[in-house]
């Protein structure tokens, strides 16, 4: 992707240099869940140290302890060789630690400047603090390529720029150690490249960076050293140059894993789902879909790539009957109502559309209900589930659920367990089982493996491909390019409510898709990160123009 080599600035002999951060024997549990178990780690100054592990392996908990957000049950923290107590974030900041959380901690209707200053003001009055911050922001921007308009409102900024604000916040507080938690999850490939350039600049200035991710590729690309976590424990720390993605994956999961999905070439048949000029305006009056047209044939998977928030969610919502829209949608040649009484999930299911929603915890499941109740949702009119016209046959639903749990390897296979008590992967298997076993003609799948462990990812991918091989049409929305590449037979890229283009996976690469995801369809005549940056600036200027900032 880039020409950045993962090389430590001036690799000092480790023996006579104190680690920038050392954790010894850190343990933390939340009730019965042991999130971190006796973790020790040494991070050398001036390096980028990766921490990799599956969702729920305890990476974020560990870093939140380091940042004083949680208190460890046991263990010690050393900063630059000195034992340091970090009871709260204030102490972490004082110790020179800055953190960029996965979910940004920004005040949406504040300016960049106000966000940077918040909590690090220089006195009771705001004006001098803001003036000082403005100066130092200019300096930081030059030093590290961290350009953001200091007077822009956060809500008008792209995610990539919001992340820069988070980094600026840490640098403004003079952090020497920067923790980034899953920083690339929300970025386009080009934005991620730019982030890596920034991190490289920071490393060159002697900053220490802890980089948390579950993506093997990023670890290989940017880190000097990598620690692997599994189920709350640190399983290994190795030099990046001396390891391989396969080895890391095995360390993460505890067994050999297939990083690629095996599948036959698709044999698409007749058109099943046709979407024509679909438009959606959300309740704030913003146009979310600006004329989307696509078709999915029987026996193929159409993957929709794009950065979150470019209309993919709305596309799924309209097709799934959750949102109203305008335009034409046909299933097997018959028109679907897009508004009114018959534009709901129930009617969609009757027309043969299955829907695995993007947000399983809010749309896919009711977390406080038991597994069998969740399996009945959306299909509660099924005659098999009825005892008589008045009562439901709960025993039949339980039995059906038990069968699904067995076939989809849901653990534990207990229909009476509440949805929230399953792990993310098993929750998703319940949703996928419910939708796939209805044998839909069209399956809508949104982020099927978000927050799902590698083992379950493998399984869910296989199920989706099996459905395709049975001659069903699958519309897949995912922000993970790897997933799009490994599952799709065709790839469409969405940007700003439009389809920017369609490609065949074997004829394109991440770079081309990355540019499309940033709304650039022609080959740029400048470095691509610059082209992407300018494109984003244009979009932000539009956002700021259409919605005048609300001062006081």
């Amino acid at each position: 992707m880039t020409d950045i080599q993962a090389a430590p600035a001036a690799a000092p002999a480790e023996a006579d240099v104190q680690p920038a951060i050392e954790l010894r024997g850190i343990s933390k549990s939340f009730g019965p869940v042991q999130a971190n178990k006796d973790i020790s780690i040494r991070v050398m100054p001036g390096t980028i140290h990766g921490i990799i592990g599956e969702n729920g392996a305890g990476k974020s908990t560990l870093m939140s302890i380091l940042y004083g957000f949680y208190k460890a049950d046991a263990g010690e923290i050393f900063v630059a060789g000195k034992r340091t107590e970090i009871p709260d974030s204030q102490a972490a900041i004082a110790a020179g630690i800055g953190m960029v959380f996965q979910h940004f901690k920004l005040v949406q209707n504040f300016t960049v400047l106000e966000n940077v200053v918040l909590g690090a003001e220089d006195g009771q009055m705001l004006k001098p603090s803001l003036a000082k911050a403005r100066k130092s922001l200019t300096r930081l921007a030059e030093e590290y390529e961290l350009n953001v308009d200091p007077d822009a409102l956060i809500e008008h900024l792209s995610v990539g720029h919001q992340q820069r604000v988070e980094i600026l916040k840490a640098l403004y507080r003079e952090a020497d150690i920067l923790i980034l938690d899953e920083p690339t999850g929300v970025l386009t490939p080009a934005e991620a490249d730019h982030l890596f350039r920034i991190l490289d600049n920071l490393r060159r200035e002697g900053k220490t960076i802890i980089f948390i991710t579950h993506k093997l590729r990023e670890i290989m690309e940017i880190t000097d050293t990598v620690s692997v976590m599994r189920r709350g424990q640190m399983t290994a720390t190795v030099k990046t140059a001396e390891t391989s993605p396969e080895e890391l994956a095995e360390l993460m999961v505890g067994r050999k894993v297939l990083l690629r999905v095996d599948k036959e070439k698709a044999a698409p048949k007749q058109k099943v789902l046709e979407v024509e000029n679909l438009r959606v305006v959300d309740d704030k009056g913003v146009e979310r879909l600006r004329g989307v047209s696509l078709e999915v044939r029987a026996g193929e998977i159409l993957g929709i790539a794009g950065v979150a928030g470019n209309g993919q969610s709305e596309l799924l919502a309209v097709l799934g009957g959750i949102m109203e829209g305008e335009g034409h949608v046909r299933v097997n040649g018959a028109e679907l109502p897009l508004s009114g009484r018959h534009a709901d999930g129930q009617s969609r299911r009757r027309r043969g559309i299955g829907h695995v929603p993007e947000d399983r915890q809010h749309e896919g499941l009711i977390m406080e209900f038991q597994a069998w109740e969740n399996v009945a949702f959306g299909y509660h009119h099924d005659p098999r589930y009825q005892l008589n016209p008045l009562l439901m046959n709960n025993a039949a639903i339980r039995e059906d659920t038990a069968g699904k749990m067995e076939r989809f390897d849901v653990r534990p296979p207990d229909p009476g367990l509440h949805a929230r008590n399953f792990s993310g992967g098993n929750q998703q298997k319940i949703v996928v089982a419910r939708e796939i076993e209805r044998n839909p003609d069209v399956l809508l799948v949104g982020q099927p493996t978000r927050g799902v462990d590698i083992g379950a990812i493998e399984f869910i991918h296989q199920q989706i491909i099996r459905l395709r091989d049975e001659g069903k049409a699958v519309l897949l929305v995912s922000v993970e390019l790897d997933e799009i590449f490994s599952l799709s037979d065709r790839i469409a890229v969405m940007f700003d409510g439009r389809i920017m283009g369609e490609r065949l996976p074997e004829e394109t690469d991440e770079r081309e898709l990355g540019l499309l995801m940033a709304g650039i369809s022609e080959e740029p005549d400048q470095p691509e990160w610059q082209a992407v940056d300018e494109q984003l600036d244009r979009k932000e200027a539009q956002a700021a123009g259409s919605d005048p900032a609300g001062g006081e």
């Binding site: 939340f30 908990t61 940042y67 957000f69 949680y70 709260d88 974030s89 204030q90 102490a91 972490a92 900041i93 953190m99 959380f101 979910h103 901690k105 920004l106 005040v107 949406q108 209707n109 504040f110 106000e114 966000n115 200053v117 918040l118 909590g119 690090a120 003001e121 006195g123 009771q124 009055m125 705001l126 004006k127 603090s129 916040k169 006081e552």
Partner: protein, 321 residues
């Protein structure tokens, strides 16, 4: 309507808007910090009773004012304990306070004074006297400006001037100081404040205390400034009207001033014109009296455009896992 009548209606508008404005600013501080304060009504009522009662007993209106503020702050503190410390439901806590105030004031009033849940009328010294501003008498006969100055601007009690000065002060605190920045942030994104190393609980309690003081002023003004003594339920829904004004004002101090003046004007008109004779039929006084409440309903139903409340309003802050 002649000029003098207009001035008098406006004069009465200013008086009637004062308790609304103080309560509205109290709500503004509270809600900007993310704590919904439906208990404005109860706090005002408690303050109204205790200020009148203590002013009567001690003979000093200032003692009364202190007692009113103390009562309101005690209520605020309960609200803070329930909704900040114990992360309870802010609406329920507020409603409970309103009921508590409504019962407790009458109960104590009956026990102390035995006059059917009211305090005896306050005499001079027990209530705030109008202040005549300099040159008011001298300028009285100047056309137009004279009556404007004498009737409208001069001749109010100290709390009226305090209330109106609170508007620029609130604006200044909110938008020019460090405390204001943090306060606005904590109502929008408490997690941002927390990760910046600032105490969310501390900020919210600070906001609640300020709200308590302002509500105390509002309640005291009702019983020792606007009227001379406490009668049961004398707030008459002003706390809720203040909340409506706050939404109308989109949680901004200067807008709050205009919103409260509008409600004050409606009340003043209702007071002045009991039955409006339109020739063909007569608009009964009840319609006029109901106007502020009707406007409240209209505003709360969202007929006045989108008002975006502070994003974290009503949500107790819990660190996410």
């Amino acid at each position: 309507m002649d000029f003098l009548t207009l001035i008098q209606v406006l004069d009465s508008t200013v008086r009637l808007a004062t308790p609304l404005l103080l309560a509205c600013l109290a709500g503004l501080f509270s809600e900007r910090s993310g704590i919904i304060d439906i208990g404005l009504e109860g706090k005002m009522l408690a303050a109204a009773f205790f200020s009148a009662a203590i002013a009567y007993v001690s003979g000093s209106v200032w003692m009364g004012l202190l007692a009113g503020i103390a009562a309101s702050m005690a209520f605020s503190f309960i609200h803070g304990l329930a909704s900040i410390t114990f992360r309870g439901n802010q609406l329920i806590s507020g409603v409970a306070l309103n009921f508590l105030a409504s019962g407790v004031t009458v109960l104590i009033a009956q026990d102390w004074f035995g006059q059917g849940g009211r305090t005896p009328s306050l005499l001079a010294g027990g209530r705030f006297e109008p202040i005549t501003l300099p040159f008011a008498e001298a300028l009285r006969d100047v056309p137009v400006l004279g009556p404007l100055y004498y009737e409208l601007i001069s001749g109010h009690t100290i709390l009226v001037y305090v209330a109106f000065l609170m508007v620029p002060l609130t604006w200044w605190v909110l938008f020019q100081t460090r405390f204001g920045l943090r306060l606005r942030a904590v109502g929008e994104a408490p997690e941002a404040v927390d990760t910046a190393g600032v105490s969310v609980v501390g900020l919210r309690f600070a906001a609640i205390v300020i709200a308590g003081v302002l509500c105390g002023l509002a309640g005291s003004y009702l019983s020792t400034g606007l009227q001379a003594g406490f009668v049961r339920e004398m707030t008459a829904g002003r706390g809720y009207i203040a909340l409506a004004a706050l939404i109308f004002a989109k949680w901004r101090p200067w807008y709050a001033l205009w919103a409260c003046l509008l409600f004050g004007l409606l009340q003043a008109v209702a007071l002045r014109y009991q039955n409006i004779d339109l020739g063909a039929f007569v608009i009964p006084v009840q319609v006029m009296d109901a106007l502020p409440y009707i406007l409240t309903v209209v505003i709360l139903a969202g007929f006045v455009g989108r008002a975006i409340p502070p994003r974290a309003g009503g949500e107790p802050y819990v660190k996410e896992r």
